[in-house]
């Protein structure tokens, strides 16, 4: 697993492309969107959903 943090105000075009309307927002493999900061087990479950 690899991870990039993207500071949205420096990259407004990316924020638009990934439809960032609030932060934090996590996009897994450009497919699954995770809004906010869910509990760890919920976050892991969504990552697994994207990765299978």
């Amino acid at each position: 697993m690899t991870a990039s943090v993207i500071e949205a105000t420096s990259f407004p075009d990316l924020a638009q492309r990934y439809r960032v309307t609030g932060v934090p927002k996590t996009v897994v493999d450009d497919r699954v969107e995770i809004m906010g900061a869910p509990a760890e087990d919920e976050f892991v479950a969504q990552v697994l959903q994207a990765g299978t």
Binding site: S4, I6, S10, F11, D41
Partner: protein, 139 residues
């Protein structure tokens, strides 16, 4: 400069790194208003510990390093310890996001926060690499 207390805390945490960490910084010459402040932010963190160094490359000119680190945009920081675990920071690390970068440095340096054993076991079942893009704003 950081407030004295904050600098002392960061120095203590960075002194605990078990292996050196390299911040591989990617800049570009034109059209990057945030590249200079991002480099300055990296330098401020590196100034707190001999275990943290900054290495600069150009996103347009240094194609070998861009390929090696898989960097997509500038400004970018690849946080690299004994091995490259694929942690990248795009933009200017300031405000609360300094904490995100320092945690990444601690992880790269062999420590820092980790996940529960259950989460690690679950993620071990992934059969391919997945990439997280985490959008943040400085606060």
């Amino acid at each position: 400069m950081y407030p004295h207390d904050a600098a002392t805390d960061l120095q203590r945490r960075l002194a605990a790194l078990s292996s050196p960490v390299k911040l591989v910084f990617f800049t570009q010459t034109f059209g990057c208003d945030t590249c200079l402040p991002a480099r300055q932010a990296a330098d401020r963190i590196a100034a707190l510990s001999e275990r943290v160094t900054v290495e600069e490359h150009n996103l347009v000119l240094d194609r070998d390093e861009v390929g090696e680190y898989g960097v997509e945009w500038a400004p970018a920081l690849a946080v690299v310890g004994a091995k490259d675990a694929g942690m990248r920071y795009y933009g200017v690390p300031e405000g609360y996001e300094i904490e995100s970068l320092v945690e990444a440095i601690e992880i790269a340096g062999g420590g820092g926060p980790t996940l529960s054993d259950d989460s690690l076991d679950a993620l071990d079942t992934l059969e391919r690499n997945v990439h997280l893009r985490v959008f943040v704003t400085p606060t």
